[in-house]
Symmetry: C2
Subunit: 438 residues, 2 copies
């Protein structure tokens, strides 16, 4: 077959047509092979952004980006393999808990995670708060750790879905990031590169999430599930609340410490609940349980018994990290200063804005605005009050963990404004807003 | 003012916003200065293609591209200066007639023309059919010829509106050519670089034109007039029929010979009529006549008296060309072979498809598919029948002027299919479909 002319592929999408799978493949292959320059790809991406991609095109794009690199078969891993992907939020430390917890229940979790960007945090940054933890290891060591420990969390490698990395870099500088089908293809092409038995998605919804309302979160979740299935992957997902930060901590070492609390059977109720709900879906997709109740019981036992925490310690050790943090979180980096954010009035905390606190956390140094910036593992925010709680005047709403009092002081106003205080309690919303199963 | 982030400019257009004039200027200046790479410009162009540009944005884009280069003041030219621009058609030799004709009526015509591409012909290719004619001369010689002869027709120079050239080259390979506001800004930025007292537009409409229907031709014509005015240029325009080829010839030397016939007071009625109608607008815009009747009389006299032909001969000589062609068109290149296109049935010619014959002409070698291809000045098509005329079975509909009988033979079918023959005469349509004045 003659290679299609790139201009024809652009014009077809520009005019609202649907490209055939072979045309999508030719586009990605041409782009990776150098026949299609950046300026043609970016014109196509803008046309795709504005005209949309249908499900078939999104499946084809996912598969073409997946095929641009290697796949990880993990042949030596005997257990069923399941991964989880979150669309990103504030204070979301669920991955750190889930990987060892689900591994402790007999399911392998070969997890490839990302870094924080903008107001959202990233699992790799949180793990790197543990002294010595290496997120960049080669594929053989990754496979060995998954086979021996049951779980491993690493960063994206150069070999997996390189087309996604190049396409994403171009989207980032051409205003074509916020497209549901392009996001779906990007997420799935990376996840499908590890041959999984199941993939569980946590689609966040609310101010702290990419999807601000339930309708768009549902659209993303449903397309993820359908396209995943179209590409031969079993996928299930939850839509979860991300109006307020998850748990009581924002910032890398602070969140890792909170994740360890959860793994030891404690921790904040919302984090624990999210971990159990996602864990149930993972065990069900892996075929370990058919019923949610049984799965939930096994997961709760693994938290209570210490099995999950022990699994986490083994994973940290296998990655070169200091596994003593599991018994002593004071071994994690700690900020020099703590500055309270006092309430200006008494009342009931009606809401806590995750997006605003995410930005405060970035400003304190816990996150980054550009992908190449370093983060400070020690700094962040500890919430003293969660939605529904009472606060007295001058009582701390939160504590800013910071390098200097001066750096925290300019954030006091923004941090305080994230807390809405009123007379009446706002109606509590459930954590899980919807479940999308196959 | 801080330079706007290119991504913000892309996102604003992507989301349907209107860029401020300063933002459009920053976009073009950034692109020309190297701060905005091709891939960001092409994403913006696709967003502009799909979201449109409003009148203010189109004026700003025109002015920004105009300011990217030099302007030609032509200070030594005393007469009012008027130019004409056609949106491109088949068999359109009006420019070759108009420049000397209007100059013979006391108005200077500093005309910057283009080459043929696809099914449409170009004035420069037609002029180059005259032995010795130089279309590439420097700005000083151009000015001297306009001052002394009253008209000069040259090609686009590197100095005038270089941003338009770079933007167009990018549009050509990114599927963003067919956008009315982008076309308007491209046309006007080039034309405004010569400081004119008036610009007359010939917006073609029909199968042989870029605009296939009257509504889109009107939209283009009106935006050209409004944006021209917004940029301080007096503009008027005609919408003219381009369903059938203009005149009886298609191909460079053939069309130049036909233009000379018109300049000598003869030639086909439709070409003559178009030249007079456009000439009237040019003389009115120049302020030479207020009434169309008086302008038309002066133009007709200049054709009858030989003044227009004499002016053409002087222009050709000033460009180094063989001006004897004006008295002896056999000095123009002639094709070796002539192959008739016989009618398969008798009847009345109901229509002649300009687009189809334009493609046949390209196939014979008279035109080009890519901008860097050479053309054969000698080859082309001579129509033996025009719409409304009777044809007998086996009588020629047209003659293909070609390098070899073999090259013509494969074009016989396509050429014949361009002629629709029926029993009844189709209703004749006027040549001028609409007039758009200020």
């Amino acid at each position: 077959m003659a290679r299609p002319n790139p201009v024809q592929l652009i014009v077809k999408k520009r005019d609202g047509g649907a490209l055939a799978p072979g045309q999508i493949r030719a586009l990605i292959e041409g782009f990776m092979g150098g026949d299609i320059p950046d300026y043609q790809m970016s014109a196509w991406l803008m046309a795709a952004f504005l005209r949309g991609l249908d499900e078939g095109e999104t499946v084809a794009l996912t598969e073409a980006m997946l095929r641009s690199g290697k796949t990880l078969r993990l042949a030596s891993v005997q257990a069923p393999k399941v991964d989880k992907h979150s669309t990103g939020g504030v204070g979301d430390k669920a991955s750190l808990c889930l990987a060892p917890l689900v591994a402790a229940c007999g399911v392998a979790v070969p997890m490839i995670s990302g870094r924080g960007l903008g107001h959202t945090g990233g699992t790799l940054d949180k793990l790197e708060a543990i002294p010595g933890y290496q997120v960049r290891i080669d594929a053989r060591r990754f496979e060995r750790i998954v086979a021996e420990v049951g779980c491993s969390i690493i960063g994206q490698t150069q070999q997996l879905a390189p087309a996604d990395r190049r396409v994403y870099a171009l989207r980032d500088v051409t205003g074509t990031v916020e497209s549901i089908p392009l996001i779906v293809a990007s997420i799935l092409s990376k996840k499908l590169a590890t041959r999984l038995d199941g993939l569980v998605l946590d689609v966040k919804c609310g101010s702290g999430a990419f999807m601000k309302d339930l309708a768009s979160a549902r659209a993303l979740a449903r397309l993820l599930v359908r396209v995943g299935r179209g590409a031969g992957q079993r996928v299930a997902g939850l839509i979860t609340d991300m109006r307020a930060p998850l748990g009581c901590t924002i910032g890398n070492a602070l969140e890792t410490a909170e994740a360890i609390e959860v793994l030891r059977g404690g921790g904040p109720q919302d984090v624990r609940e999210l971990v159990l709900e996602l864990g149930v879906l993972m065990l069900k997709l892996a075929g370990v349980h058919k019923r949610a109740g049984a799965a939930r019981s096994q997961l709760s036992r693994a938290l209570r018994s210490g099995a999950a925490a022990e699994r986490f310690a083994r994973m940290v050790a296998a990655h070169g990290g200091d596994c003593r943090v599991v018994d002593d979180v004071t071994r994690l980096p700690r900020a020099r200063q703590r500055v309270p954010v006092p309430a200006l009035r008494s009342g009931l905390v009606r809401s806590v804005d995750a997006f605003e606190l995410g930005l405060v956390s970035v400003a304190l140094g816990a996150g980054r605005v550009r992908a190449d910036q370093p983060v400070d593992p020690a700094v962040g925010i500890v919430l003293a009050k969660k939605p529904g709680e009472h606060v007295a005047r001058a009582e701390p709403l939160a504590w800013l963990h910071c390098r200097s009092v001066a750096s925290a002081r300019v954030q006091l106003g923004p941090a305080r404004r994230a807390f809405e205080i009123g007379r009446r309690r706002s109606k509590p919303e459930p954590l899980v807003l919807d479940t999308i199963e196959e």
